[in-house]
Symmetry: C2
Subunit: 522 residues, 2 copies
């Protein structure tokens, strides 16, 4: 770490050394002209795995998927304001997932920026819309220090999107200084008054209380603690709809999420007199609707915040277990593992088939949108696995998430990517990276050839879509041929019309250390 | 236009009526949940052609291409902040092209926004980075008035990206009022002192003066006036590198643009003692380089602004012609039309083949990046055509531009889309819209399977790329199969290894009212 004092280096080199010293050793990249010194530094300093994405939203989505599985940040490398703009959708999703990313945006040289060259735009303004921290390093000597700060933010409890804007002269100028890693920011401790309040609520009103888990509260340790509380007090446990990653399958708590739709969410939440929030927020609708409330709970429900998003749900729940003397609680038997379904594809049948066939310790990336709303109940008895969701509603994250998750697992875990066709089109370039990196990702395209969620919404407007509306809602003209697209991007692929065919293709794919795409006609 | 007083309507309906009254009758769309009332209004009120794009950057790029050919604005319809973010790259390019677009972004209901739903982001902040005008209509009764203002901005001389943010309650609430079209904003008149100064410079220093054309100054009327000046005074004429559309081919002035590269641009500009700017700006580099100046001109060069970007270049040049009594000037014979080239593809051979085969009045959309730097000199003697360029450096605009230009020409003009493979990947979804709309677009993918421009840049860093760098610069692993991708998106396509094959495929394609893709191995 005393490299800077031994040999002179430029800002880009100090950046790579600083990242490596802080344990950040994966870079998802779509570089451009102004990042060449950084690319050269990555080339000359061994230790960083660089993964190319062919569009920026693929890059940021991969970094999000990487964090959700690795539980540590990677860097995303983007080019100038417009390159950042292209990647903002999945940066938004990552922020809503509370992921940590060191997002590096190469930009114009500081002295060139005033000339308003064609590519120049307000990079910092763009960055602020989807970042928790934004800094422009204007001198080579600042780059290392700023990078260490960015890593510190990206590693904090509750997540952090740290965008470091790197003007090209700060990259190429000499004077780079490697910075020591900064200590992890401590999560604020759990307030004992809140623990006592929650304990009292559970003791007195357990049967009408919901423990609502958010963020890492949906991983196994917090789930288990919540289950102890539920078993001891009669409370229910649920996860937020916005779910970056849930530990699921046999041996795990059979947890449901708050439903997506207004009516279903209200129905699920209405009966609770108290809701204890563990890294969660009071549930709100994705959208407002005429005459409908924005929130989903009964107005008489009282909320209690046990822990905030920047605190540890594990600590909070353990302390609450202690306060209640809640004993260890067995998780009820989840019944037999489902068997693969047959016949015409249905959501239930597909979920059963996935549960029947998925290998141990798989990762599911779920951007199935409307088709996947009922997948959970048929997959509780599957082998243990992790399930990743679209968190911020910016569609087009399923394929990149799957790719980044596979990289995080270093190809050692099967990734099953359940992907609606409409949203798949937003970041289909991800498939190429899966092929390039030879990642074991099995993508199942749910091909219904329309924007089903929008047709449902259109129905709520109270009208039958005419020609013009269907022109904006149907995808059947021309039909998108996913097998051809996948082959064009370097993957093997095949179409399935029935669940038997889908199951056979899944079995084959699960045996190969390579990506595969199944176009399932639903 | 008195509809509002006759029958009550919601904000969305007032928007559609207002747009139609102002002559805006094409809507490029990628709608989402919060835009369903607008979609319903488009469905029920006849007159707007709606064109679906499967990703937002396709939508904004099509709107840009539409404007460049139709010379009037269309609307682009996007969904919430992240949808806008996805479309910002090509909105940036459109702004640099000085195009006019009425960019409508559906958003959360005003009263739902404070709940910070998952999809909520700072839509206005995003919009400001690539817009000339941003307004959120917070009430149904404001929508018509605001839409009329947006159209006025989008129609002004010098272009305008007008972003109208439309909360869903402003869309669905009753109380919509149709607004009369606002008058076109007058372009500021040309200053007579500047005309006289330019006339004196041309009289006294004609042989060392450059007339530099920008924006619509590169269309035929301004070209011809500039040619008269050049013929009368010995001055040179050139176009800006940033070129939204150039009138080209036989009978047009054989105009060159300022070159892209620093050295070539300096060489082209160095000898001029005076540069007269006609809707142009002093040329600057796309990027700064160590030890290099940001500008390209000789420090001794004196600039004279004849007209600004918000003024009419035609008026400016006509007045200057009058001041100099410059007579009509014949355009020199451009020689024989080139014949189609044969053998291994080269930039020169491809340009000759295009010049040899293109139909009369074609449109060329050029995102050929490094391969296309020399296309101009071999296409001067082609039939008359329009040539569209990437203006803002945000790659991924070639395919959408081609699509929008074809819509603007209502399928009556052949569009030739010269497209580098790397940048094609950013908005390949455009091909599907070409197929859906049955547009006569012939795409030639220049398949070199690497980021050639970045390899050139990397060389200037002074190093040979190693494994890690090539991991971020080469696209050959796996090879992208454009024929398969095109077929998956509903197009016919074929591969060409030689210029004869490419020529044969072009001839076939030019006879069909349908899109076609040629993967040219270069």
């Amino acid at each position: 770490m005393k490299l800077a004092s031994i040999c002179p280096m430029n800002g880009a080199q100090s950046l790579v050394h600083t990242l490596l010293a802080a344990g950040v050793d994966v870079c998802f990249a779509n570089p451009g002209t102004s990042e060449m010194h950084f690319v050269a530094a990555l080339d000359h300093i061994p230790g960083v795995r660089c993964v190319l994405g062919l569009q920026e939203n693929v890059v940021t989505g991969m970094a999000d998927g990487y964090f959700r599985i690795a539980a540590k940040p990677a860097t995303s490398l983007l080019h100038c304001g417009p390159g950042l703009a292209n990647g903002l959708g999945n940066l938004h999703n990552a922020r809503r997932a509370r992921s940590g990313i060191v997002n590096i945006v190469g930009d114009q040289a500081t002295w060139h920026r005033p000339f308003d060259a064609p590519l120049t735009t307000d990079t910092e303004a763009l960055a602020r819309t989807a970042s928790d921290w934004v800094k422009t390093s204007t001198r080579a000597s600042d780059v290392g220090r700023d990078a260490a700060s960015a890593v510190q933010i990206a590693r904090r409890v509750g997540g952090g999107i740290a965008t470091l804007v790197l003007p090209s002269d700060a990259s190429w100028d000499d004077g780079g200084m490697v910075a020591e890693p900064l200590p992890d920011l401590p999560a604020p401790p759990i307030d004992q008054h809140l623990v006592e309040t929650a304990a009292r609520i559970l003791r007195d009103h357990g049967a009408s209380t919901l423990i609502l888990l958010g963020g890492t509260g949906m991983l196994e340790p917090a789930q288990n603690a919540a289950w102890r509380l539920a078993s001891a007090t009669g409370a229910d446990v649920m996860g937020e709809y916005v779910c970056p990653r849930m530990s699921r399958g046999r041996g795990r708590v059979p947890l449901n999420r708050v439903p997506y739709g207004q009516a279903a969410a209200q129905q699920a939440l209405w009966r609770y007199s108290h809701i204890i929030l563990v890294g969660a927020r009071p549930p709100v609708g994705f959208f407002g609707y005429p005459g409908q409330p924005s929130v989903h709970h009964n107005p008489a429900t009282i909320f209690h915040t046990l822990s905030r998003v920047d605190q540890s749900p594990d600590h909070a729940l353990t302390q609450l277990c202690d306060a209640l003397y809640a004993p260890a609680a067995a998780i009820r038997d989840l019944g037999d593992r489902p068997v693969a379904a047959t016949g015409t594809p249905t959501p239930e049948g597909l979920a059963q088939t996935i549960a029947a066939l998925m290998p141990e310790n798989a990762i599911v990336s779920d951007e199935s949108i409307s088709y996947g709303r009922g997948f959970y109940q048929h997959t509780f008895a599957a082998p243990p696995h992790d399930w990743l969701h679209l968190t911020g509603g910016a569609i087009g994250d399923g394929l990149p998430l799957a790719t980044g998750a596979a990289i995080a697992a270093d190809g050692q875990r099967r990734v099953i990517s359940l992907q609606a066709d409409g949203s798949a089109m937003y970041s289909l370039q991800s498939l190429w990276t899966q092929a390039r990196e030879k990642m074991p990702v099995t993508t199942i395209i749910l091909s219904n050839r329309k924007y089903e969620i929008l047709l449902n919404e259109y129905a709520t407007v109270g009208a039958t879509p005419g020609v013009t509306a269907m022109n904006m809602l149907d995808l059947a003209n021309p039909a998108i041929g996913w097998v051809n697209i996948a082959k064009g991007l370097g993957l093997d692929a095949a179409r399935a019309e029935t669940l038997e065919e889908c199951g056979d293709l899944m079995r084959q794919s699960f045996q190969n250390q390579a990506p595969f795409l199944i176009e399932l006609m639903i």
